[in-house]
Amino acid sequence: MIGYLLRRLLYAFPLLLGINVLTFILFFVVNTPDDMARMHLGQKHVTPESVEKWKRERGYDLPLFWNAKAGGTEKVTGTIFYQKSLGLFLFRFGRSDDGRDIGADIGQRMWPSLAIAVPSLLVGLLVDISVALLLVFFRLTYLEFWGVALCVAAMSVSTLFYIIGGQYLVGKLLQLTPISGYDTGLNAWRFVALPVLIGIVAGVGSGARWYRTLFLEEVEKDYVRTARAKGLPEPRVLFAHVLRNALIPILTGVVVVLPLLFTGSLITESFFAIPGLGSYTIDAINQQDFAIVRSMVFLGSVLYILGLLLTDISYTLVDPRVRLG
């Protein structure tokens, strides 16, 4: 087990390096620091001096890969690749283009993201699985047919509709919760409730349908027939036996996204003006702040790889037949 984990961690290294190089190429080679400077300073009427100044202030005035002018190890370390890209491995995110410390921003902004994402995921999972089990329970009836039809209709609606409609209905017409915003401490729940609710409603269509197919595959199996044959009531068969055995595919989907909860949901956070990492990223995209986008891409990838690893470990916990090694 330990050996397996070590191997997996080592395997993550070339992956992260690949991502690093990919983002580096996207942000520094295809799109040179000169372009970045011009984009920020305005396209026209910009002097070479001001471009140079902008680059020097942000440390972009170095060669990309190889600094021939410097001596010794400076040849490698005095480059943009070393200073801007490799630092990400140590979670040194550096400063954003307007001079704020990205690492501190991330540390501060991840809490609102988590406050939205964790309840959305947990309650959403509960709702999705319950609906799916109910659909399976009523299989081959009209109730199932219309339930599935409703699910397909629900997943054909744009997420934006749920958000805008929910804000209008709950926030404006019924005035149950504030439309958007955030507060610190326990007062935050009033602001969290609506995004969580909308997140659940928006996800239930595709979620329930997905879990339903999982459960349907499971109910065909022999152990289910045995359980029924020995006289167990159907609810017990479904909720005890089938649910337990369907845990592996459920976990595959859920554990992968666990670490990504940190980075939050781009759309939800931005619509509800929640100061989390999702809205941070969107603001960065809108202001074309490449330093932040690069950091978030890297952070997201690290978390995703972590998620894959967690998935494998969780298999051994729910299914004793799985042995890693």
Binding site: L15, L26, V152, S156, S158, I164, S270, I285, V297
Partner: protein, 465 residues
């Protein structure tokens, strides 16, 4: 004088490929059988009819020409520089009628009050009449409901007529084909017992014709779905957005398919270091969260366009280039899923007897891949393309919201939502732009989902007959 944008050309290439594919499939029994299963499903056929209507709109909107300039008196024909599409020309009366600002659907008055100069010289603070919407009415408050009903009924009648003519012609042709069994055939269609659900298809067409007739009659006299902030007709915008949505859902395959097919087959067939390399490539790409990768690529693309501003002759060309880039970027970020599926399937196929036999007989490897592996991956590709379509259409709206979608000047449902969402705070609420965009998206995505489900059920060998 016709002209083509790059997306138009690719779109027609795609349609050509589709036609070729249909021809190819229609000659092979093992491919016809699953399609017959699709054809027997009422929900799939209803969806197909609706999708074909959308496709028709998109095709009309992809044929462009430079219209002749009016009053270009001195002999030689002069053309306007901005091309218009067939759809624009067809909807000309709706397109040109731009009001000052918002107006509610079918309204004769503007949304905002303003100072109106009275004929006697005084001024009142009231809702002004619209320049075009309901302009033919003398007293809108009294006449409008009756007028709308009358014109609507006329439109319904025309729609019914437009439906009856081809249906009667088709029935007549059917009667001429099988003279003796016609009564039985007709009866089975009317009772809904025919193999292909013709009755359902006919009813769908009827509804579309009726709605089309009604809108067609009301459209030139009113604004059926209201007008937006700068007074453009919302219905016209929604129709124009059809092409954008469809292109994003389909052109993406130009990037996805070659990458997924080539890499998937090579990795599965050759294994070893080729497999390792390709697996590394797609795991790396997969690890980057999708939206962020798209955002990063679009940012880079935007700064490329900013640098090469002079190369785009017009705003429309620029928007078109951006649409194409968006499709390709979406494709570049979404080929990994299909690639993994294809690799796994190829791994299975290469061990089968017929492939081994081909190898033993000395068939060249390229030939094995083309003749023996590729055709047997077809169902995976088809299912995956069909399933991806709807999520791509939905993704466009979200991406446009973060400003990394299509060009802001291009009509798209995402842009409509984006520009209208702040208006929910107004009182009374300006709901029509949002409602129209969501309604059209839903009308495209729901059939796409249903059709994709039917295709998957028919082609997936794991789902039994």
């Amino acid at each position: 004088m016709p002209t083509f944008f790059s997306t138009d050309i690719l779109f027609f290439l795609l349609l050509l490929g589709l036609a070729g594919l249909i021809f190819h499939m229609s000659r092979r029994e093992h491919l016809r059988r699953p399609w017959r299963k699709v054809a027997r499903s009422p929900s799939a056929m209803v969806s197909l009819v609706i999708l074909l209507v959308f496709l028709g709109i998109a095709v009309l909107d992809s044929i462009r020409f430079h219209p002749a300039e009016n009053g270009g008196g001195n002999g030689g024909a002069r053309y306007r520089s901005e091309p218009v599409t067939l759809l624009d020309a067809w909807l000309g009366p709706i397109r040109a009628r731009v009001e000052k600002t918002y107006s509610a659907p079918l309204s004769a008055y503007s949304y905002a009050k303003e100072m109106i100069r009275q004929p006697d010289g005084g001024e009142v603070w009231d809702y002004p009449r619209l320049k075009y919407g309901g302009a033919h009415l003398a007293d809108p408050a009294r006449e409008r409901p009756g007028d709308v009903v009358r014109i609507g009924a006329q439109g319904l009648g025309e729609g019914l007529l437009a439906w009856l003519v081809p249906v009667t012609a088709w029935l007549a042709w059917l009667g001429w084909q099988e003279r003796s069994g016609f009564a039985a055939r007709f009866g089975s269609i009317v009772r809904g017992e025919s193999d292909v659900p013709w009755r359902t298809i006919g009813l769908t067409l009827l509804i579309i014709c009726l709605a089309g007739g009604m809108v067609g009659e009301l459209g030139p006299k009113y604004h059926v779905l209201g007008t937006d902030k700068v007074g453009e007709d919302v219905f016209y915008q929604s129709l124009k957005s059809v092409r954008t949505g469809l292109l994003i859902g389909t052109l993406t395959t130009f990037a996805t398919l070659p990458l997924a097919l080539v890499f998937g087959i090579l990795a599965g067939y050759f294994r070893g270091w080729v497999d390792d390399g390709i697996q590394y490539l797609y795991t790396t790409l997969n690890s980057v969260p999708g939206v962020l990768l798209i955002a990063a690529a679009m940012l880079v693309m935007q700064s490329y366009m900013a640098r090469h501003e002079n190369e785009f002759a017009s705003l429309a060309l620029r928007a078109d280039f951006r649409l194409l880039a968006l499709c390709l970027i979406l494709g570049l970020t979404s080929w990994t899923g299909l690639c993994r599926l294809l690799r796994a399937e190829t791994l299975k196929l290469r061990e089968l007897e017929y492939v081994q036999a081909a190898k033993a007989l000395g068939v060249r490897e390229g030939m094995i891949l083309l003749r023996h592996i590729l055709p047997n991956l077809f169902h995976l590709v088809l299912i995956s393309v069909a399933l991806d379509f709807s999520s791509l259409v939905l993704a466009e709206a979200v991406l446009s919201y973060i400003n990394i979608g299509v060009d802001p000047t291009m009509e798209s449902w995402g842009n409509m939502i984006n520009s209208a969402r702040l208006e929910m705070a107004r009182d009374p609420v300006v709901w029509w732009s949002l409602a129209a965009a969501f309604l059209f998206m839903f009308a495209l995505v729901l059939p796409a989902n249903l059709f994709a489900d039917a295709v998957r059920d028919a082609f997936d060998p794991r789902r039994g007959e």
